[in-house]
């Protein structure tokens, strides 16, 4: 029987990809959000996460799954590693409407390259309807070129079911490692 009383799943990815939204969709309690006003005009957002997002799911008996969201911008890379250490799994959310979504994914694959071999991971691509390119296959090709085969799913994080599917694929990978 596990003696721990918490697990964590980390949501990372590009600014505007929906990390805060995804955590909000799953968390039992209103998530802690560390959004501040954005001063970077290129981001196209009013607010941006600079600390971390935090939500949790109560499993009962004092056990929780903690959901953490990292800040998306590269200058907060130091937070990415800190937050992801000892995580059950990682969900990378990519916004396909950005100029170079494949380059965006590469940033996170590089940042987490030491953790990925032993960590469950799923990639969620958002806004694929408005911006169908690159395709999900393009992302899969990129992962395959790095010797990685993770779930890559076109999702809308405003739909709880899509977020759940991403998390479920993380859980099945964790099951495989048992």
């Amino acid at each position: 029987m596990a003696t721990l009383n918490h697990l964590k799943i980390v949501f990372t990815g590009t600014p505007g990809a929906g990390k805060t939204t995804a955590i909000g969709a799953l968390s039992d309690t209103p998530p802690v959000v560390t959004d501040v006003r954005n001063t970077d005009a290129s981001l196209g957002k009013e607010n941006t996460t600079v600390g971390l997002d935090f939500g949790q799911v109560d499993l009962g008996d004092g056990q929780f799954v903690r959901l953490f969201g990292t800040p998306g911008q590269l200058r907060f890379e130091f937070m990415w590693q800190i937050i992801a250490t000892d995580a059950l799994g990682l969900v990378i959310l990519i916004d396909n409407s950005r100029p170079n979504p494949l380059d965006d994914l590469a940033i996170y694959l590089d940042a987490y390259k030491d953790l990925l071999p032993t960590m469950s991971c799923a990639v969620g691509i958002g806004r694929t309807i408005e911006c169908p390119l690159p395709t999900v296959d393009d992302f899969c090709d990129m992962l395959a070129a790095r010797g990685l085969l993770f779930p890559v799913l076109a999702v809308d994080v405003r739909k709880r079911e899509d977020v759940l599917t991403l998390v479920d694929t993380v859980l099945v990978q964790a099951e495989m490692r048992l």
Binding site: T3, G60, L149, L153, A154, E161, M176, L178
Partner: protein, 266 residues
């Protein structure tokens, strides 16, 4: 007889692939490739052994026909060994037959066919020499779409959302299939999911072209799969934590699913 055609009635034009002097393995592969690649091809392909043809697929240098009595097929595909002279020629298929190359060549033929006005397929008279490895097939009922016998499967791509959402075991099956080639029995045993459901999922994956299919003849040796832990809810101990993270067991993962409200259609 192995037939690649689907049981689903089709309004697609049919092209006939006449095969001569192919080995059993080559013939089985060609049939499997046509079945798997049906969605990628624009026409319905049918393997025939005599009579009218559109494309000739040869396992020898020359077609066994009476010279001068064969109208040119749209294309002739020669199956050669890798070390054979001229193996790299663009119209040659090198053994072992490879799916992508095979489909690519047929797609090229289809483009040529589509570009020319429809003509009656070439007629082959009865060959003057009996071919070694072919027998005229008896008329067969439309075959069901089935998994290639004794084949092993592995995911090339993760399945799309539509194949995962609402299905209790599909993500689990996908996870096992992502790790190594498995046959149907192995998949069912490792995943603890019923064989019928595994089969349905595999067929859906084949149709979606996200599956790598390894036929019996082309099998590469792989390490034996790890036997699955006994799966009883909430009581399984962790076997080998891979990372330094806290111990995780199946019961906890089930609790997570329950708490998140992960529900399934089936």
């Amino acid at each position: 007889m192995i037939s690649p055609s689907s049981t689903v009635p089709s309004d697609r034009r049919e092209l006939k692939l006449l095969v001569q002097n192919l080995t059993d393995a080559d013939l089985a592969k060609a049939a499997a490739f046509l079945r798997i690649g049906r969605e990628r091809l624009k026409f319905d392909w049918k393997i025939v052994y005599s009579g009218e043809l559109d494309v000739l697929m040869l396992g020898s240098d020359e077609a066994q026909t009476v010279r001068g009595m064969v109208d040119d097929p749209v294309a002739t595909l020669r199956v050669v060994d890798a070390h054979a002279a001229g193996a790299e020629t663009s119209s040659h298929l090198v053994r072992p037959l490879e799916y992508e190359r095979f489909i690519e060549m047929l797609s090229g033929v289809e483009r040529r066919v589509a570009a020319t006005p429809a003509a009656a397929p070439a007629a082959t008279p009865v060959s003057s020499k009996p071919s070694l490895n072919t027998t005229p097939p008896a008329p067969a009922p439309p075959p069901a779409v089935v998994l290639p016998p004794a084949a092993r499967f592995r995911l090339r791509r993760w399945p799309p959302l539509a194949l995962l959402q609402g299905y209790r075991y599909h993500p689990r099956l996908a996870s096992f299939l992502s790790a190594r080639h498995l046959d149907l029995d192995e998949l069912a045993r490792l995943s603890n999911v019923g064989k019928e459901e595994c089969q349905e999922f595999l067929l859906a994956l084949m149709k979606g072209e996200v599956l790598d299919v390894e036929l019996a003849g082309a099998r590469r040796p792989e390490p034996p799969p790890t036997p699955p832990p006994v799966s009883t809810a909430g009581t399984t101990s962790p076997r080998r934590p891979v990372s330094s993270s806290p111990a995780i067991d199946r019961g906890l993962l089930s609790k997570i699913r329950l708490s998140l409200g992960l529900t399934w259609r089936r």
